[in-house]
């Protein structure tokens, strides 16, 4: 099964937010919807209950108005007079007059004598004596306290609200029935009060079949038909009926007859759910718009939040990658004090630390040699050191003092740096380490901090290379009109103490010991012996694959043991035969010198001297011995003269 993973923090946040919000919003929506539906139903029901009450109230009011009108009008003197005539035509005209004056509140009038004989009937129904419901109503009124009664009576197919009251002249002399039809005008009037549709529906049981008929209604024809088809006539609870423009809550109110009667009339109060549903839908629309707005705002907020989070993170990541590549660059600014800015601050500190370290390493590599720098950086730096055998090389540029006197300081520094750079390069190429520069001289170590096993050999190679290089550098100097330089190199191999020297706050990696001093002395002796280099016996023993010539046996200042010193001439393969003969001649001359055969030795050195160009003769190795032999024979040398030449000055 594949592990799902988000491609970005933003997506993760978005999905999280949506997963959180959508169910909540949906839940709210459904809850509100359900409550609203319930509310709509309740509202419609209460509307209908109220509507039914108002319907009854309106009917009662109409009835009372009718009663008031009939009662008042019939006590009118004119009507009394008319009735007093006993003439039916006059009375019916007077009755019609009252109906006209009632402004529609009364629609029919029937006057009967106290015994039920019909005197006049504006609807001319045709019966001469009261019968059926009319008679029942009269009897009910006669047995009541005030002689007043009312009933709903179907009159020529239309249900009428009928009231009856006695005609006082001044004693009751007749029954006056007045009525108004429960017709469209009535339903329209009621509708104005209850803002609901009103219908009067008649149920008639007949041989042809039981049928419902709309007698009056505020509904259109089509809706009346729909009402008839769906209406449950015997159900008194609210029912839902679908009309042309939606569902209607429908409530019935009995007007006439009881369940089981062959003729029943009921009022139908109807209220559309639409109005409330429209409100509901409007509310839903607003709610949805609100949701969309909330989600949009949230998404934007999340995107911004994610950006505010991921952008610094991405920046940090790329910063870290650059740091990894060695670019410490500009410090990165993340405003605020949150975790991210703390992280950025840490990265900055880290970069600064790394840059600092790099800088130190770089500087260290310049100030000290690369190997020493590595040695220093790889270990814990502490004072103290270790004893080890190291080959120490001192290289000095002869003729530098002359240059200083004759040239500008900048030119001197340029030339010096050129020479030192070359010397340093050569030393490092031969696995040496520059320990320090002292003016125009260089101290180099072979075997510290790391030994390569052939340290003396490397040192000798370096010495030869330096000497070879001097010729090239001098060519440049000659072209620039500068003084020419020569190198003097001293090499010795011996035990030294290598380590960090100095104070706790400022250290130097270096080596110290007699061997270092000796190497320095040997370098100094090159001026005495007019040679390019002097290699100690110890070094020669460690680098035997070169051609040397023994120069002397010397005791340097501060040393009790004599040291046999050599000049390295080069690799054996590079040596010419003439050179070999010269070296052999020198060795023979040196042997004669040591044997105190002064004349023979002098002759031999002189012969060697002759091989040199005349300008070099005064400053040659041979001249050194020739000068000695000018005064040695006059000295009283001991019998066991060891031919050690003592240098008691540094």
């Amino acid at each position: 099964m594949a592990q799902f993973s988000f491609r970005s923090f933003r997506t993760r946040l978005l999905v999280f937010l949506l997963a959180l919000m959508v169910p909540v919003l949906l839940g709210i929506y459904l809850f509100v919807n359900r409550e609203n539906n319930q509310y709509t139903t309740d509202t419609i029901n209460s509307y209908l209950d109220l509507g039914a009450d108002v319907f009854d109230f309106t009917r009662e009011e109409h009835k009372n108005t009718l009663l008031t009108i009939i009662s008042t009008m019939t006590r009118d003197w004119g009507f009394r007079n008319a009735f007093g005539t006993g003439d039916p035509y006059t009375i019916i005209d007077a009755a019609d007059n009252i109906l006209l004056r009632s402004l529609g509140a009364a629609d029919m009038m029937l006057i009967a004598a106290m015994d039920g004989e019909v005197i006049i009937d504006t609807k001319t129904q045709g019966f001469e004596r009261l019968e059926g419901e009319w008679l029942e109503l009269m009897n009910r009124a006669a047995s009541s306290d005030d002689g007043i009664g009312d009933a709903i009576i179907t009159l020529q197919g239309v249900p009428y609200q009928i009231t009856v009251i006695p005609l006082y002249l001044p004693t009751p002399v007749a029954w006056i029935f007045g009525g108004f039809p429960l017709d469209n005008q009535f339903t329209d009037t009621v509708k104005q009060s209850i803002v609901s549709d009103v219908s009067i529906v008649e149920y008639q049981q007949s041989a042809a079949g039981n049928g419902l008929q709309v007698i009056a209604s505020t509904l259109g024809q089509g809706d009346q038909q729909a009402l008839i088809e769906q209406l449950q006539f015997d159900r008194l609870q609210t029912q839902r009926i679908l009309l042309s423009d939606g569902e209607y809550g429908t409530l019935l109110r009995p007007l006439y007859g009881q369940d089981g009667d062959p003729l029943q009339i009921k009022a139908v109060i109807q209220k559309s759910y639409n109005e409330n549903i429209e409100n509901l839908q409007a509310f839903q629309r607003v709610l949805l718009q609100f949701y969309i707005a909330v989600i949009l705002v949230s998404l934007i907020a999340v995107v911004l939040l994610a950006r505010s989070f991921t952008r610094p993170v991405l920046d940090l990541a790329s910063r870290v990658r650059r740091i990894e590549a060695g670019d410490y660059g500009q410090a990165m600014q993340v405003p605020g004090r949150d975790e991210l800015s703390q992280l950025a601050s840490s990265v900055n500190n880290m970069a600064a630390g790394l840059a600092e370290k790099e800088k130190v390493r770089d500087l260290l590599g310049k100030v000290v040699s690369h190997e020493i720098a590595e040695e220093l950086l790889s270990k814990k730096i502490e004072l103290g050191g270790e004893e080890k055998v190291v080959t120490v090389l001192f290289a000095d540029i002869k003729g530098f003092t002359t240059l200083c006197e004759s040239s500008a300081p900048e030119a001197v520094l340029t030339v010096l740096n050129r020479y030192l750079s070359e010397i340093t390069r050569i030393i490092e190429n031969n696995s040496g380490v520059v320990d320090k520069y002292t003016g125009d001289s260089v101290m180099a170590l072979f075997g510290a901090p790391l030994s390569r096993g052939n340290d003396a050999e490397n040192a000798v190679k370096a010495a030869l290379a330096i000497q070879a290089c001097m010729a090239e550098l001098n060519a440049i100097n000659r072209a620039e009109g500068m003084a020419l330089m020569e190198a003097g190199i001293g090499i010795h191999t011996g035990l030294v103490v290598a380590g960090n020297l100095g104070s706790q706050n400022r250290l130097n990696y270096t080596v110290i010991g007699d061997s270092v001093n000796l190497a320095a002395r040997l370098e100094g002796l090159t001026r005495k012996y007019n040679t390019g280099n002097i290699v100690s016996d110890a070094s020669r023993a460690q680098a035997p694959d070169f051609v040397y010539r023994e120069l002397d046996l010397v005791q340097v200042a501060g040393k009790s043991e004599p040291v046999r010193i050599y000049e390295v001439m080069g690799e054996a393969s590079q040596l010419t035969d003439v050179r070999r003969q010269e070296l052999q001649a020198f060795a023979d001359a040196l042997a004669a010198y040591r044997a105190q055969q002064w004349e023979d030795a002098t002759a031999r050195f002189m012969a060697l001297q002759e091989t040199l160009p005349s300008r070099e003769r005064a400053m040659s190795l041979y001249s050194v011995y020739l000068e000695r032999m000018e005064y040695l024979p006059r000295r009283n040398l001991p019998a066991d003269w060891d031919a050690v030449f003592v240098f008691d000055r540094k």
């Binding site: 009854d56 109230f57 009662e60 009372n64 009663l67 008031t68 009662s71 008042t72 006590r75 003197w77 009394r80 009735f83 007093g84 005030d146 002689g147 007043i148 006082y168 002249l169 001044p170 004693t171 009751p172 002399v173």
Partner: protein
């Protein structure tokens, strides 16, 4: 249904004149029935000898007819003075006498008489005050009398013989509000008429009738 209970009818024949002693009771309560009219119906031949026209007054006091029941003989004249300080409009649509005295006040119509020729009961009303109701009983002869508060009355001068005696009361439950009975009159001793009348409750409109009822369910 109406009930009439004859208790005692003792008669003493006389060729001269006889006396009728009347005592009427409420059949329900046993109390005397006042304002009942008792008339001895003489055959037409005898009527003229016992007829004397009268002049009486039916006053209107505090929006009532006073007396409430007035007995007169046919041909009598009645004046309807107004003792109230408002106007009245007296009328009658009774078949025995239809008349009206349009709005008049105190001091007016004092000398105006209506003559009641036809026997019968005349119901008086006021067109301004619907609850005002008065009765004028127009008897065929002068042999008619109204009971007092105890329901008693005495009628003298009745010729000996056997006649129908009619008892009328405004609230009588009987057909036509009358009860009739045949009595024999003679000179030797008075005839007694003791009747228990069944009365209907007072159907008169109460004062300030509350026509516009506000009974809503």
């Amino acid at each position: 249904m109406w009930a009439l209970l004859v208790l005692i009818a003792s008669m003493t024949a006389s060729v001269q004149a006889a006396e009728l002693r009347i005592a009427l009771q409420d059949a329900d309560t046993g109390a005397g029935v006042s304002d009942a009219v008792v008339e001895v119906l003489l055959p037409p031949a005898l009527q003229q000898a016992h007829l004397a026209a009268m002049e009486v007054s039916v006053d209107q006091v505090e929006k009532e007819f006073v007396p409430n029941v007035t007995v007169i003989s046919a041909g009598s004249r009645v004046t309807f003075p107004n003792s109230d300080d408002i106007l009245h409009h007296v009328y009658s649509f009774s078949p025995a006498k239809v008349f009206e005295l349009p709005l008049y006040g105190q001091g007016q119509n004092v000398d105006y008489f209506e003559t009641f020729e036809q026997a019968g009961v005349v119901e008086l009303g006021c067109n301004i005050h619907d609850w005002m109701l008065g009765y004028i009983y127009v008897a065929q002869t002068s042999l008619a009398v109204k009971t007092d508060e105890d329901g008693r009355a005495t009628l003298s001068g009745v010729p000996a013989g056997e006649y129908t005696v009619r008892v009328w009361h405004p609230r009588s439950a009987s057909e036509g509000k009358v009860v009739e009975q045949t009595l024999v009159f003679d000179d030797a001793q008075p005839a007694n008429l003791r009747l228990a009348l069944t009365l209907e409750r007072d159907n008169r409109l109460r004062r300030a009738p509350n026509v516009s009822r506000t009974r809503y369910r």
